[in-house]
């Protein structure tokens, strides 16, 4: 064995060095990626509350009530003896439709989707009706709207007793 080959690495040493190197490289890249992933989650969340108390059923006149729209993103619609909590997010691409009292319809400003007062879609590109939220009466007679539970028409969920209040 001459001097040159003694000073250089042999095969076994080379592989142990490269293993250590790769492990460290992967670990640092993995750590960096996990930091990036963590960064995609907000530190503070300003989203509206998912549950709220909405007063008594008698507070609402017949038709569409917009009092919770800006705070919770919910329209209260009283129609045909039923009170429902309608989501104000367009089922096409998630814009916020406007209630047009003269035309009696919800109309989306982004792509022109239109919905009846009941939330059923009838014009524009929207593929399905607006979603309804769980609505129920508390023992003290106040309405509680729970936005964590949604009811979708196309899945036949609007018959569920939790999706409306008899008034």
């Amino acid at each position: 064995m001459n001097l040159d080959s003694k000073q250089s690495l042999n095969r076994r040493e080379f592989f142990s060095y490269i293993t250590v190197g790769w492990v460290m490289f992967s670990a640092s890249v993995g750590g960096l990626l996990s930091l990036c992933f963590r960064f995609t989650y907000p530190n503070v969340n300003f989203e509206p509350e998912m549950e709220f108390l909405a007063g008594a059923p008698t507070d609402y006149p017949s038709g569409v009530d917009e009092r919770w729209k800006n705070l919770y993103g919910v329209w209260m619609v009283k129609q045909e003896g039923k009170l429902i909590a309608l989501s104000n997010i367009c089922t096409h691409l998630g814009c916020i439709p406007n209630w047009l009292p003269a035309e009696l319809k919800f109309k989306c400003p982004c792509h022109g989707s239109g919905y009846y007062m009941s939330g059923i879609n009838f014009e524009g590109p929207t593929p399905r009706p607006l979603e309804r939220f769980k609505i129920g009466l508390q023992p003290d007679g106040k309405i509680k709207v729970d936005k964590t539970k949604v009811f979708r028409w196309e899945k036949g969920e609007w018959d569920s007793p939790d999706s409306f209040l008899e008034v």
């Binding site: 800006n70 439709p97 406007n98 989306c108 400003p109 982004c110 792509h111 022109g112 009838f122 593929p127």
Partner: protein, 360 residues
């Protein structure tokens, strides 16, 4: 009166066929269109017409919105460069017919120069001019800042940045999965694929239309009619509630357009057969599924067998390139097809499976 007429004509139902016909005429008579005489006459006519357009208050208020300035620059550039390319192509095609070869291939045009200083100086001047232009622009037109974002409220109309308004206009006719993900993805993938699909060396380094008629027509149709035209519609002709407004029309928030859109399944099962929608989802949408599959699967082989253009194309580029090209073309054409179906039959979706978030 004339303004009313322009308002009516610019409705997409009328203006889209007009633009398509205009596009066809432009390419068919490109030697006339690409002549200098045609350009001078067009400019001479357009100046008083533009002045008359601008004298209208509603039109002026849309045009002069700071957001809309780049679109006017874009339109002028697109018009000029389209004309310029066809002008050069017309000259070259005439020369090629006479057996002279393209003008770019003449010895004096093949002379080589150094990139320093010839190219670098030009680039430097272009850079300085661009910077100066942007600085002046930023000073003259204020940034259109609005109030802070509110997750429970949307401006009316809610418009995307101007370069996305073609996509937003597509979304009026498609499910967000199609117009927001699949079709933009295909646009990007298709543009990347062009050099691999199109290996025809003709037209490299010189302008021509005759030698590359199909490639140029296919690309320009997608670019001018399906992208730039849709941006114009989205920017200038869409007002509150994304309703159509003519260029001279006041953006009245209470303009009502009666429309009621139905799915293909409803047209067939309820209107034609009169038996109501079947419970089973796949049976309900079976006609739309068959139609969509037939559109994608049957048309390319049929086109390759039955038509002369298709046979030649298939022979020239080979099976794989041919099928990829036809797939991209079919996906492109799905947009005008759906627009026309919407206008003629109020058709919402050919396949409507909201239960599976799948709507075509």
């Amino acid at each position: 009166m004339l303004r009313e007429l322009f308002n009516k004509l610019s409705d997409p139902i009328i203006s889209f066929p007009l633009v398509t016909i205009g596009f066809y005429l432009m390419l068919k008579h490109y030697k006339t269109f690409g002549s200098k005489k045609f350009a001078y006459w067009t400019v001479a006519i357009l100046i008083p017409v533009t002045a008359w357009f601008l004298s209208d208050h509603n039109f002026f208020s849309i045009i002069s919105t700071p957001d809309n300035i780049p679109i006017i620059i874009l339109l002028v550039c697109v018009a000029f460069f389209t004309w310029f390319a066809l002008h050069k192509a017309a000259l070259n095609d005439t020369r090629i017919e006479e057996g002279l070869g393209p003008i770019e291939a003449t010895p004096e045009n093949r002379e080589k120069v150094w990139s320093w200083p010839n190219l670098v100086y030009t680039e430097l001047f272009a850079m300085i001019a661009c910077t100066a232009f942007l600085v002046v622009w930023a000073i003259v037109f204020k940034a259109p800042l609005e109030e802070s974002a509110n997750p429970t409220w949307a401006p009316n109309p809610a418009k995307a940045p101007w370069y996305f308004l073609g996509l937003q206009e597509m979304l009026v006719y498609f499910d967000p999965w199609m117009a927001g993900v699949v079709l933009p993805g295909l646009i990007v993938a298709g543009l990347i694929a062009i050099p691999y699909i199109d290996t025809n060396p003709k037209g490299n380094g010189y302008f021509t239309l005759k030698e590359r008629a199909m490639a140029i027509t296919a690309f320009l149709y997608g670019w001018l009619v399906l992208w730039v035209y849709l941006i114009i519609v989205g920017v200038f002709l869409r007002g509150p509630n994304w309703t159509f407004y003519g260029p001279f029309e006041y953006w009245d928030f209470h303009k009502v357009v009666a429309s009621f859109n139905v799915n293909l399944s409803e047209i067939i099962w309820i209107k034609t057969l009169g038996i109501g929608l079947p419970k089973n989802l796949v049976v309900r949408e079976i006609f739309g599924i068959i139609l969509s599959l037939a559109y994608i699967v049957i048309i390319p082989p049929w086109f390759a067998k039955a038509t002369r253009v298709g046979r030649n194309l298939f022979k020239d580029v080979g099976a794989i390139r041919y099928y990829i090209f036809m797939f991209l073309i079919l996906m492109t054409m799905s947009l005008p097809i759906k627009m026309i179906l919407r206008w003629l039959f109020s058709l919402k979706y050919i396949v409507a499976l909201p239960e599976w978030e799948l709507n075509l």
